[in-house]
Amino acid sequence: MRVLVAPGRVGDVAASRVGEVIGMAFHEEGAQVAVVDLTTPLPAPTTLDELGRMLDEGLPAVDVAGLTDALTDVSGLRRVLAGRTFTAIVPDEEVRAPLTGLSGTAVARARATSEDLTVGLAADARAREWLRMHDLDDAPGAGACDGLGAVLLDAGLRLETALGWAVQRTRLRETAVRADLVVTACSDLDFQARGGPLVQTVVEVAGEALRPVIVVAGRNFVSRRELRLAGIEDAHAVHAGAVEEPVREPELVAVASRVARTWRFPSR
């Protein structure tokens, strides 16, 4: 049996360690296991000099969320970006967000400070002027990181989320197709968040590969029927009910062992 393990954090147990625990449990049951860490942090420069050094090293992806100060030196930023090819990682909710307009990030940030219509309108006007001043176009993603997305798109660069990049970097889709079972993990599995973006992504990838996916959770609040509706074959929780205690690794190990024993595929 071939098992793909692509977990998130479970309580205080980091994703990488969760992957090791679950992977080892299946390995001990005789499965071939591939453990993928979708949470590896990316290089995250905060200055143009740092960005330049990272790009000189040939890094394929850089988390640009900390570079908003660089917007005070758009010319300098453009010089650093000139001729470069890399994937710019931006916050999930901003990867397709424009800068201006009702759904733009300029208005969204203004509304975080005040519900007053004039505050949003003023922020939008300033954003439009900023784009005009730097000869930039608004477009999906241009609003990422307060307009940094517009400069990046103008430089011909691609914007991506950290999770989207991790899926590509780890070839998760190709690996899922070769697996018999996909296992992911999260702290809480509930009906609204459905385990969060990582679990939802893994479930989607498993679904595309037509592979069953199960979730190891710190707590599970979703019934079997609703799990199936969400594309999840089954969920196994460390704690029953709404227990507030943190998940400890020995408890996770015990659940992982039990989960690994419950899944069997005929030998090929």
Binding site: G101, L102, S103, V107, A108, R111, E115, L117, T118, G120, L121, D124, A125
Partner: protein, 116 residues
């Protein structure tokens, strides 16, 4: 938020019932310097929600329509989402208040407060 049509705004129209009600409310306020402002704001369970209130401000870029002294204004950010929208006032057993019929909206939530 799903895509909605953003055609050239044709302005917001008020039905006769809505005009009469707004005029009555303004008279009750004792003011003739207020406009009925309709704004679209992000939020609500369907992505966007309407705000309808009296406003004494005239903002840059406001799109204004006058109904025999009753002025309806929309700000320049909201206007593309409201072109062709119609405001009515109903007073029945089932429903009382202003209603907004917006051809740009592709759907709304069950509570009726939010649209997309």
């Amino acid at each position: 938020m799903t895509d909605i049509k953003l055609e050239a705004p044709a302005g917001v129209t008020l039905t006769e019932a809505a005009v009469d009600k707004v005029r009555a409310l303004l008279e009750a306020e004792g003011r003739d310097d207020l406009s009925l402002r309709i704004a679209v704001q992000p939020g609500g369970c369907s992505g966007l929600r309407y705000q309808l209130y009296f406003d004494d401000r005239a903002l840059d870029g406001d799109v204004a329509t006058d109904y025999d002294g009753v002025k309806v204004v929309t700000d320049r950010m909201s206007a593309p989402y409201l072109g062709g929208a119609s405001i009515d006032f109903v007073d029945t057993i089932q429903q009382q208040g202003f209603t907004i019929d917006n051809p740009n909206a592709q759907g709304s939530c069950a509570c009726g407060d939010s649209f997309h």
